[in-house]
Symmetry: C3
Subunit: 424 residues, 3 copies
């Protein structure tokens, strides 16, 4: 028996070797694998398409890349790790002395055994990333360099998976699929999204949940540009990233700061007793930058464990599958499920008998509770729901003001709704 955590970790390991970028076959191969878990609708958007203030760039593909020494031995080889080549590197095939080659080499002197992750999407460059130790071991002399890549008109690829709900209002869950062999950033986020989608589909949720697997920045911008009408139906959203490292959970608020998703995540993280951080919105990070840009200003927050750039392994070869654990991903998944369970039941009700307390006893709402060990709490929850059901307060407000568990409050609301004492 494998646990969901182990299954997520296995997915991370499958996706890890692929060379993803903001376009290209690495993204397609990734979506093929994700599509084995949940059905995807894949979109291909041609190079040159105007998307908001941006233009879809040329597609980048790479077959091989290496640095070979005088003896022909590959001292740096793309086949060993997709990180070794500068992302979006232009093709090159040349011989040059080490001194000249050095201008195209990226290392991390402070972590001499690690390979950095570098890109140059919008400025034509070629380059290699390697460990400082490898570089130090390279004698002076001539080297052969080869990047067998193509930059040509093609497409930008992204995919959607939808869990239909009872209403057309949508919750968007977004994760970036453009990083190559980096596990926490963002294969763990992809894995949690996939298993979250499967969990939500177990019963029809209230909201329609739309999962977006797209390259960072340009992918979210492309989706927003092509879904102007749908955006108006996005009631809430969550960007998933860095979902598997050993650190505590971090929720970054939407730009609004008091959106319902912000309140739900704060409530769930606090009520669960998990150590966590809540941070205010900043216009830097992942695709919440686009969803929360002032023209959209959506209620979209971001859930991660240690946030981007907050751990030394960030954007290095040390962010490998060993860095993420089944337990951490399972914990991130559990919080997502708890949060969406609250979000899905959170309503504003109106008390239909608002003058004085309605007589609960004759409706069996006291009797039916009498035998239960949590009767007192259930009764208090009904009084609180009745008191605050004025069209202004949500059930989450009731839970927070009363100090009662959200589930107890929601169950009380269900009982009162069934007794026609409140209506949504």
């Amino acid at each position: 028996m494998t646990t969901p955590g182990e299954e997520m970790h296995a997915l991370v390991e499958r996706l890890y070797p692929l060379c993803r970028s903001i376009t290209g076959d690495g993204v397609r191969a990734t979506l093929d694998i994700v599509g084995e878990y949940v059905p995807l609708r894949v979109h291909e958007v041609p190079t040159g398409t105007q998307v908001l203030d941006w233009t879809v760039p040329q597609e980048w593909n790479i077959r091989d890349a290496y640095i070979a020494d005088g003896s022909g031995r590959r001292v740096v080889d793309f086949a060993a790790s997709s990180l070794h080549v500068l992302g979006y590197s232009v093709p090159v095939s040349a011989r040059m002395p080490l001194a000249q080659l050095r201008e195209h080499l990226h290392t991390l002197p402070e972590h001499p055994s690690w390979v950095p992750y570098r890109t140059s999407y919008y400025k034509p460059e070629w380059g290699f990333c390697l460990s400082q130790e490898t570089l130090d071991a390279m004698p002076d002399g001539e080297y052969e360099v080869c990047v067998d890549s193509t930059l040509a008109d093609g497409h930008l690829t992204y995919a959607e998976h939808v869990v239909p709900g009872q209403v057309a209002d949508e919750v968007i869950v977004s994760c970036h699929v453009c990083h190559p062999s980096l596990a926490n950033d963002n294969l763990a986020g992809i894995a949690v999204a996939v298993f979250l989608a499967r969990a939500l589909a177990e019963r029809t949720p209230y909201y329609t949940y739309r999962f977006l697997f797209a390259p960072g920045t340009i992918g979210a911008i492309t989706w927003l540009a092509r879904n102007a009408e749908r955006v108006e139906r996005v009631a809430h959203g969550l960007v998933l990233a860095c979902a598997g490292d050993p650190g505590r959970l971090t929720y970054k608020q939407s730009r609004r700061g008091d959106a319902e998703i912000d309140r739900v995540l704060a409530h769930v993280l606090t009520a669960s007793g998990r150590p966590h951080h809540i941070t205010e919105f900043t216009p830097y990070g992942y695709d919440e930058r686009q969803f929360c840009s002032p023209g959209f200003d959506l209620g979209v927050g971001s859930l991660s464990r240690t946030p981007y750039a907050g751990y030394p392994e960030y954007h290095t070869s040390a962010d490998n599958p060993d860095f993420v654990s089944p337990e951490a991903m399972a914990d991130t998944l559990a919080v997502c499920r708890e949060a969406f369970a609250v979000l899905d039941r959170n309503r504003r009700y109106v008390n239909l008998s608002p003058y004085g307390e309605p007589q609960l006893g004759r409706r069996g709402l006291y009797d039916s509770l009498g035998g239960r060990s949590d009767a007192k709490q259930a009764q208090m929850a009904m009084l609180w729901v009745l008191s605050l059901s004025d069209g202004e307060h949500t059930l989450l407000d009731v839970a927070e003001r009363s100090g009662l568990p959200f589930d107890t409050v929601a169950a009380a609301a269900d009982a009162l709704r069934d007794a026609e004492l409140i209506k949504a």
Copy 2:
């Protein structure tokens, strides 16, 4: 010479033996005694009358009740304490073994010498309340049980006392009169209300003060149902309960949380230096539940010493006249008087000379202060009242923002009003 505290305590002792319930002659006898102190208008509402979501129940009266052992000796006797019979107990006359009788007996094992207070208003039951010690001393065997009660169509009884004010806007002061031999809950509340009414009548107050002596829940609901138009004139209100125990004062806010009565009580309790608690509204407690139900949402708070269920003697025979003291009741009364003195003088004024400071000197407002030891404070109070008299701020706002005593602020406002520099 008796103090008001001693007079209130004497009233508690007179009322203590009566068997009150939500209806019946015990309530009437109670109101007869209260009527000796302040004139009452007594209302009788027939059984079956619809009142909001409720129906006035049958009237309950009881003449005798006991458990007698095989020798005919009464081991539990209603004549000794009105607590011994389950409130609203249906009549019974039977013989049964102790094992069967036990299902109808209520004790407090954790306080073996105390008798609990129990009721069953809306589910037909019979039963006795007794001390654990008494129960432990009852040998097995046959017992005779008798509850000589009647449950029949009749009336619900409540009373009003009004202190007419300068304006028709009302302050409602409510206390429940449905608890049998329990001193703090709520004979002390009744006593404080009575002496508060007498104190308010010493000079015509600004508001009209309406005192309501009614059974808990159903009494308040009945009053609200029969006074739909008057409710619109209820500007403020206070529910008095548990007014005589040795604990510190507790003010429970109205549902609004920022109603004027909430601010006044917080100000008076703080300014007086008394140790106290301020608690947020909860939809449980006394009749503030009804006045603050969302359809009414009145500015009605609740003043008590130790709140309901917050002391071990609550709803037991230990809540007897020894548990309440003249000093505690006098202190509760004093806070009510201080609070209503503030409430009665609290106004929003408009500065009639709002451009720059008016020249107070030529109006004698500086000179007249020159010889007084509090001249500086009085002068500052005038400047503060002028500054904040913009139609938005009340004198209580002025007192809180300036840190000056409310009385000083109100006196300054009187002087400025007399000089025609401000108007209400």
Copy 3:
């Protein structure tokens, strides 16, 4: 080379000997000297003119005043200090024994070597202020007293200096010129105002800055009465007083408490790391009392070092030029300049590309930053400005929410405005 601090101190020393009051030639002589530094428009308002609730009083001038002992020796002499005579003292020429004279003498027993400052503007009195030591040394016997003053119809004098800005909206900077030989209160304030005006004129500011040199209370009231239309253009203001003592800076908020000037001063004082106090508005103090009266309710705060009456030297001969330092005045001046630099650049912008992030790279806004050491901060500032430029947030909001320096934020806004990505 003299520093601005030394120049301000030199101005204080020049102004110190003059006998200023709320009217009279001392004010005119003061304005003559100020006029050597910045051009002034001097206003003369006749005695009897109605100004708001007040009337311009008679003009007071004084040529000589003394107390001479039996030998004709002057034991108290106005020529030694303008403080020796009660402000607005009516003329007197008489001989009287010490016992009778004492009723007209003012001393400070707790500081026996200091001379107090006393006035009687609106009640006709004569009197002398002297040190307790001087009084103690005066033997019983006859004394000659002389106050050679005149109280007669004349004028109230005040002056304005304007630094024209790009817009007609005004910032008013006000300081009182009615105190005689007192250095901190308010010659230091006058000196800071003068050098602030000169600094602002170095380049055309955004706002038009109006400096008001007027007697306290009646001067501000007179200006307000005569400038009803201009008041509507007063966007912000600052009253300067007690600007040179060794204490930490104190900013007293406007009556509004959240006016832009309040936020700017709090930001600048905090961001600069200076120890400081922020105090809430009170309707006592200097001419903020008039500007913030509820009919005007202008966004005018007050900047001082130790506030009025907060230091023992206040209103005594110990508030002399030794009490104020070039360094303290230079520090006050610096804060004013920093604050007005923020105020002048603080704008609400609207993002013209609010849907997703605009592509900064193709506009050269990334490239141009690449080589700068503060590139990261400049880039973050652009993202923050874009994010919050929704017409609601000012650049100060951006600085405070982002934690970035205001200058960095304002520079980012300039770059974005030049790229036509935002507009004011």
